[in-house]
Symmetry: C2
Amino acid sequence: MSDFFDVVSRQRASRAFADTAVTDDEIARVLTAATYAPSAENKQPWEFVVVRDARSREQIGALTKRAWEKGGRAASERRLGPALLADVESGATGGLASAPVQIVVCADTERGLEATVGSSIFPAVQNLLLAATALGLGSALTTITTGFRAELQALLHLPAHVWPVAVVPIGRSARPLGPPRREPFAAHTHRERYGSFW
Amino acid sequence: MSDFFDVVSRQRASRAFADTAVTDDEIARVLTAATYAPSAENKQPWEFVVVRDARSREQIGALTKRAWEKGGRAASERRLGPALLADVESGATGGLASAPVQIVVCADTERGLEATVGSSIFPAVQNLLLAATALGLGSALTTITTGFRAELQALLHLPAHVWPVAVVPIGRSARPLGPPRREPFAAHTHRERYGSFW
């Protein structure tokens, strides 16, 4: 049994993984948790592709690296401090791809409306990440690779109306992760109207 | 102490609320949980406006009703079965607005990139909804009202770069909610490539 608030406060992106297997039962538990998330009109427009094949994982990793080199790094260099930049870079250039399982979370845009992809898919992704944390698995929410929609669709045989929205590596984190670094909620909470801080 | 997987499996949209107060401490706990969610570049671009004022809640409720009547109902009539349609309609025309607290979750598009609003805000919203469930509070993820961005910005004094992304009513559910209705994960999970079902 895992305490809910403890799981929430421990969730953190893992960008380097140990070479340890993840079982089908673990995958089933995190994906079942994902499906309990809300979605617009309860259309549950998610499709999950669970990639274990080493060659496919390499190809996904190569796309991630290309996305980083073609624009991700240039944008992040201006926006991130050196420690986080180094962490993100090591993930994008091989660390994320080192996980034994990559779950590509997709939106079926015939089942759900295009305008509601974000509000219908990311809550499910968050449930997935939390469930992984509860089971002692490392994971991360990544979207950089989905800029290569056509390439991912070809690799995973996705129909045109099924859009990859996130790539979530799952495995055992290569090292223990500290608690997430966050600003206190009150710094971004307002009473009645913006500017009247909590 | 609430078991993580139990909370996840019990979360369900509440669209009718009892006239019972929600405390500042409860709001603080759900918003703290929200801030533990991941966000692109860890920019934490959320801003939360906690609305308790009766007049402001009425105005938000009026916008929701207008959004429903101006297009929401026409779209949903074609897409939803009669039971869910009736439930959604009763929420959009007054049920959601009956909650004593409305949390308007916003994205600061100067702090976070516009392209990452969905992936940076909806995981936090999901943490908020789960935390409310853990505390015995009813809630719902709604986005229909945010189509009136300018009106919400005026009402809540939001600067132009702060976009309302979701409106989450919080309160005590007017009636007990059964478990969420979901298709099994395996119906939407594929091994290695789309079409090769779990």
